[in-house]
C-alpha cells in the first residue's frame, strides 16, 4: 500500500509533486512555529528557575544571611543580593565560585559592561567593596540581566534592616539556595506567554490543518476514480493518508530541524530587558518530539475529514454536483462562543486561575469558531455578488465563492484570523511615558521610623552639602494604614548617582529612588509586552501570508482544467487575474474588517481600550491592514506564473 501511494505521488506528474511539496512546506512552517510557541513557555520556566536562588526559604540556624534590594543607576534597574556568612558551611551561591567574602562584589557580565568607565563614587561606592568576579550564567535570568551579589559582614546594617518594599527580600537566615521562589516578574510573564501561545498556536494549527486539505483537494479526482474502479473507502483513505502523512512527516522533520538550527536567532528576541540563552529555548526539548508527533497527526485527521466527501460518494466528486449550502449554524457557533467569552470576562473578578484558564480556552475557541464561520460568510458574500455581477470577472469570482466557499475561505482565513488577533492586541496599552529631564532630582528612601532622625542626620553628614536632606512622613505604599519615615535628598542632576551612592551606603535597607525610578520596572514590562505583541503579530501574519500564498497556488492547481478551457476559448488572463483578485480581496475586505472589529469589540470589556489611545493601537491596526492586503495581493502575484503555465498547457491530456 505504501509502495502504491509512493508511486502515485511520484508518477502524479509535476503538479502532484508540487502540491505534495506545498503540503510538506506548509507543515514545515507549522512545525517550526509550533515548536517555537511551545518552547517559549519552557524558556520562561528556565529563566524563572534561575532566579529562585535569590529568595530561598528562611531556615532557623542557617549558615548564611540573605537579603535583596533593587538599585537604580540612570534608567536601569539592578537587582542586588546581599549575602553574609554565618559559618564555614555556607554553600557558594549559584554562579559564584565561592561564598562572597565581606567587601566582595560579584557582578553579572551586563552590569560589568554597564559600569565600565563609571567612577566608583557613582556606583560601586554604594556597596563599599571591590569587584571580585563575574556571576555565571546559571544564576542569571538572561544575559542582559543587571545583577550584583555583595558579600557583607553579618552585622552590616544592610543585613539587618528590614526592606519595606515587597519586591525585595528582608534579611533572612538560610542554609542553602534551593527551593526558593522565582522572581515575581515571571509571575507576570509566564501567564502572558500562555496567552501569546494561544494567540499563535490556534492560527498556526488552523493553517497546518488547511495545508493537509491541499493534497487532498488535488487528489480527490483521482481517488474518486479509484473508488469507481472498486477501491474500498478504507483503501482510498489509507492511500491518501499515507501520501499526506509522508509529506507531513517530512515537513515536520524539516520544520523541527529548522527550529533547532534557528534557536540562536529566536534567542535574540529581547524580553524583560535581554535576549535569551539559547539553552533556554531547549528547556522544553523533551516536548519537541511530542510536538513533532502531534503535527502529522493533526494533518492526518484534517486529511481524513477532507476526504469524507470522496469516500462517501465517488460520483459526487467525479461529477461535481451542487454542494449543499453551509448552514447559518456556523454563525451561531461563533456567536455562542463569543457570548460565553463576553459573559465570563464580565464575571471575572480578580484573576482566579481557573477562570482565567477557561477564558483563555474560550478565546482560542473563538478563533477556531471564526474559522468555522468564515466559509459561511464567504458563501453569503458570494450570493450577493452573484446576484449583482455585471462583468465576467466579478461573475466568475462570485460563482467560485458560492461553489466552494471553504476553499475560497482558505485563501483569506489566515489574514482574517490575524486581523482578529491584531484587533485584540491593539487594545493592549503599550505606550511609554516620556521621561523628563530636570535640573534637580529628588531621591527618597524609606527608613526605620525608630531611627529616622539619626539616619537623616547621618546622611546629611555623609553627603557633606552635596544634596539638601529632609525628613518626611508619608503613608506606606503597600499598607495605607501605616505611615513610614522617608529621607529625601535633592541634588543637581549631575550629582545624582554620586549622591545616590552615598545615600545607599548610609541608609541600609530600601535604596533611595526617584519617583520616576518606579516606572522603570513597569516600562520594562511594557517593553516586553510590546516585543511579545510584535512576535505574536509576526508569527500570525507570517502564517497568514504563507497560507494566502499556498492556497492561491493550490487554487490554480485545483482548477487547472477550467483555466485551460477558458484559455482555449479565448479568455484573457487579465480577466482570470481580476476574478482571482476579487475572489480573495472582496471577502477579505468584508470578513477581515469584521474580524478586526470583532476582535476589538469582544476584548474591549476585558482589556479596556487604552491601547487605542496610544500610537501603538493605531499603528498595529494600520500595519495589519497594510500587511494583510499586501499578503493576499502578493500571494495572487506569486501564483500568476503558474496560472500562465497552466493556461498555456495544451498537451493532449494535461493532468
Amino acid at each position: 500500500m505504501t509502495a502504491l501511494a509512493w508511486r502515485l505521488t511520484r508518477l502524479g506528474g509535476r503538479r502532484a509533486l508540487l502540491s505534495t511539496g506545498l503540503t510538506a512546506f506548509a507543515v514545515a512552517a507549522t512545525a517550526l512555529l509550533l515548536q517555537f510557541v511551545v518552547a517559549c513557555n519552557f524558556a520562561f520556566v528556565e529563566r524563572a528557575d534561575r532566579t529562585e536562588w535569590r529568595e530561598p526559604p528562611a531556615a532557623e540556624g542557617g549558615s548564611a544571611i540573605l537579603a535583596s534590594a533593587i538599585d537604580y543607576y540612570g534608567d536601569d534597574q539592578i537587582t542586588r543580593i546581599d549575602l553574609a556568612r554565618l559559618d564555614d558551611d555556607a554553600p557558594a551561591p549559584p554562579g559564584l565560585d565561592a561564598f562572597p567574602a565581606p567587601g566582595e562584589v560579584w557582578v553579572s557580565p551586563a552590569l560589568a559592561e554597564l559600569l565600565e568607565g563609571v567612577p566608583d563614587e557613582d556606583f560601586l561606592a554604594r556597596y563599599d567593596g571591590a569587584i571580585a568576579g563575574t556571576v555565571g550564567a546559571e544564576a542569571l535570568a538572561h544575559e542582559g540581566e543587571l545583577l550584583a551579589v555583595v558579600g557583607r559582614e553579618a552585622d552590616d546594617p544592610a543585613m539587618t534592616t528590614e526592606r519595606s518594599d515587597g519586591d525585595m527580600v528582608s534579611p533572612r537566615t538560610i542554609d542553602g539556595f534551593s527551593g526558593g521562589e522565582a522572581s515575581m516578574v515571571y509571575g507576570v510573564y509566564r501567564p502572558a506567554a500562555i496567552v501569546a501561545t494561544v494567540l499563535m498556536a490556534v492560527p498556526v494549527a488552523v493553517f497546518g490543518a488547511a495545508a493537509a486539505r491541499l493534497t487532498v483537494a488535488r487528489r480527490d479526482e483521482r481517488l474518486a476514480a479509484l473508488r469507481l474502479i472498486g477501491a474500498t473507502p478504507a483503501q482510498v483513505v489509507r492511500l491518501t493518508l499515507i501520501e499526506t502523512v509522508l509529506a507531513a512527516v517530512a515537513g515536520t522533520i524539516a520544520g523541527t530541524l529548522l527550529w533547532m538550527a534557528s534557536t540562536p536567532l529566536f534567542a535574540r528576541i529581547p524580553i524583560d530587558g535581554g535576549p535569551w540563552y539559547v539553552a533556554d529555548l531547549w528547556g522544553g526539548a523533551a516536548w519537541m518530539p511530542v510536538v513533532a508527533a502531534a503535527v502529522p497527526l493533526m494533518v492526518a485527521v484534517s486529511a481524513v475529514v477532507g476526504l469524507r466527501g470522496v469516500v462517501i460518494s465517488p460520483l459526487g466528486v467525479a461529477r461535481r454536483v451542487r454542494r449543499k449550502g453551509l448552514g447559518a449554524i456556523r454563525l451561531a457557533v461563533f456567536a455562542a462562543v463569543a457570548v460565553a467569552f463576553l459573559t465570563l470576562s464580565q464575571l471575572l473578578g480578580s484573576g482566579d486561575m481557573i477562570f482565567t484558564a477557561v477564558l483563555l480556552v474560550l478565546f482560542g475557541a473563538m478563533i477556531a469558531a471564526l474559522n468555522l464561520t468564515g466559509p459561511w460568510a464567504v458563501q453569503q458574500i458570494g450570493k450577493i455578488l452573484a446576484g449583482t455581477a455585471r462583468g465576467p470577472a466579478r461573475m466568475l469570482a462570485a460563482r467560485r465563492l458560492l461553489d466552494d466557499p471553504k476553499a475560497a475561505w482558505r485563501g483569506v482565513a489566515g489574514v482574517a484570523l490575524a486581523g482578529f488577533i491584531a484587533g485584540s492586541i491593539a487594545l493592549v496599552p503599550m505606550g511609554q511615558p516620556e521621561l523628563e529631564t530636570t535640573a534637580t532630582e529628588t531621591l527618597s528612601a524609606v527608613v526605620d521610623s525608630g531611627h529616622a532622625e539619626e539616619l537623616a542626620s547621618r546622611a546629611e553628614a555623609a553627603l557633606d552639602g552635596l544634596a539638601e536632606v529632609e525628613l518626611h512622613e508619608r503613608t506606606d505604599r503597600f499598607d495605607e494604614s501605616e505611615t513610614v519615615a522617608v529621607v529625601t535628598a535633592t541634588t543637581p542632576t549631575g550629582e545624582l548617582e554620586h549622591v545616590r551612592s552615598i545615600l545607599t551606603a548610609t541608609l541600609a535597607g530600601d535604596p533611595p529612588q526617584r519617583a520616576t525610578d518606579q516606572t522603570i520596572l513597569s516600562n520594562q514590562i511594557m517593553a516586553s509586552v510590546r516585543v511579545g505583541a510584535i512576535v505574536v503579530l509576526a508569527v500570525v501574519f507570517a502564517t497568514a501570508a504563507l497560507s494566502a500564498g499556498i492556497s492561491s497556488i493550490g487554487s490554480v492547481l485545483d482548477r487547472r482544467k477550467t483555466y485551460r478551457l477558458l484559455h482555449l476559448s479565448g479568455t484573457p488572463q487579465r480577466v482570470l487575474d481580476a476574478a482571482r483578485r476579487q475572489e480573495t480581496l472582496l471577502p477579505l475586505a468584508v470578513i477581515g474588517g469584521a474580524s478586526v472589529l470583532a476582535g476589538m469589540a469582544l476584548n474591549a470589556p476585558l482589556i479596556g481600550s487604552q491601547g487605542l489611545q496610544d500610537a501603538s493601537g493605531a499603528l498595529i491596526l494600520g500595519v495589519t491592514l497594510a500587511i494583510g492586503t499586501a499578503a493576499v495581493i502578493g500571494a495572487g502575484a506569486l501564483s500568476r506564473p503558474l496560472l500562465r503555465a497552466t493556461m498555456n498547457d495544451v498537451s493532449p491530456r494535461p493532468d
Binding site: R399, T571, V650
Partner: protein, 229 residues
C-alpha cells in the same frame, strides 16, 4: 465557389523529435463542414489547435479571411478565439461552478456585454437547443447530451466564423450523438459559418460536406479515401 474563409499552408509541428504535423495544407469556406479523420495520434487535434491559433505551428501559415493569424501575439490570438472562433470538445468544457445560462453567456460577457444583456441570447440559444427550464442547472447536474448541447449553445452564442469541434460526440451514445451533430451542422449552416470537426465516426464524417484524412501528420489523399466516398 466563394473564397476560403480559413486557409493553412504547409503546417509543420514537432514535439521534440516526434512529428505531429509534417506539412499540411488546408482550406475551408463559409457554410462548409470538413470532417478530419485519421488514426489515433495522427495529428488531428494538433491540426485543429494550429488552425484555431491555440498553438503556433513551427512552420507554415494560417490565414483567416486572408490575414495571417499564426504570427499574431498570444493576446491577439486570444481575442480572435473569443470573437471569431468557437470550440466544442468531447466533454468538460463547461465551467463546473457556473449554471448553464452563465456558461453560455460567458463569451458574450468576455466581449464586454453586461451580464443582464448577455443572459438574454444565452437563454434563447438554450431554448433553441431544447434546454428551456434547465438554465439554472450546473454542468454536474446535466446528462452528457444536455451538457454537450449547453456547450454547443455557448459555441454558437457569439456567432462565430469557424466552429472547431474535437470529437464532440465521442462521449455520447449514437442517438444522442446524432442529435447533437444534427443541431451542430444545421446551426452552422444557418449561420454561414465553417465547421471543422475531428471525428473517428464514418457516419458523422459522411454528414459533412467534405472529409480529409490525416496519417502520420500528413494529408492522406490515397485511393482508399476516394473509394470509400
Amino acid at each position: 465557389m466563394s473564397a476560403p474563409m480559413l486557409t493553412a499552408h504547409a503546417l509543420r509541428k514537432h514535439y521534440g523529435t516526434a512529428v505531429a504535423l509534417g506539412g499540411v495544407d488546408f482550406a475551408v469556406t463559409g457554410g462548409e463542414s470538413v470532417a478530419v479523420t485519421g488514426p489515433s495520434g495522427s495529428g488531428k487535434s494538433t491540426l485543429l489547435h494550429c488552425l484555431a491559433g491555440v498553438i503556433r505551428p513551427d512552420e507554415g501559415e494560417v490565414r483567416l479571411f486572408g490575414e495571417r493569424i499564426d504570427s499574431l501575439s498570444e493576446r491577439e490570438r486570444s481575442s480572435l478565439r473569443r470573437t471569431r472562433f468557437a470550440f466544442l470538445f468531447q466533454f468538460g468544457q463547461l465551467l463546473p461552478e457556473l449554471p448553464a445560462e452563465e456558461n453560455v453567456a460567458l463569451p458574450l460577457m468576455l466581449g464586454g456585454t453586461p451580464r443582464r444583456k448577455a443572459l438574454g441570447p444565452a437563454r434563447e440559444r438554450l431554448a433553441q437547443l431544447g434546454l428551456a427550464g434547465k438554465e439554472d442547472r450546473r454542468p454536474g447536474e446535466l446528462s452528457g447530451g444536455e451538457a454537450q448541447r449547453v456547450a454547443l449553445a455557448r459555441a454558437l452564442v457569439v456567432n462565430p466564423a469557424v466552429v472547431f469541434a474535437d470529437e464532440p460526440t465521442g462521449a455520447l451514445d449514437r442517438a444522442t450523438g446524432d442529435q447533437v451533430m444534427g443541431v451542430l451542422l444545421q446551426t452552422v449552416a444557418e449561420l454561414g459559418a465553417a465547421l471543422v470537426v475531428v471525428t473517428h465516426d464514418p457516419l458523422i464524417a459522411a454528414r459533412c460536406t467534405r472529409t480529409i484524412e490525416i496519417r502520420d501528420g500528413l494529408l492522406h489523399t490515397g485511393e482508399m479515401t476516394e473509394a470509400r466516398r
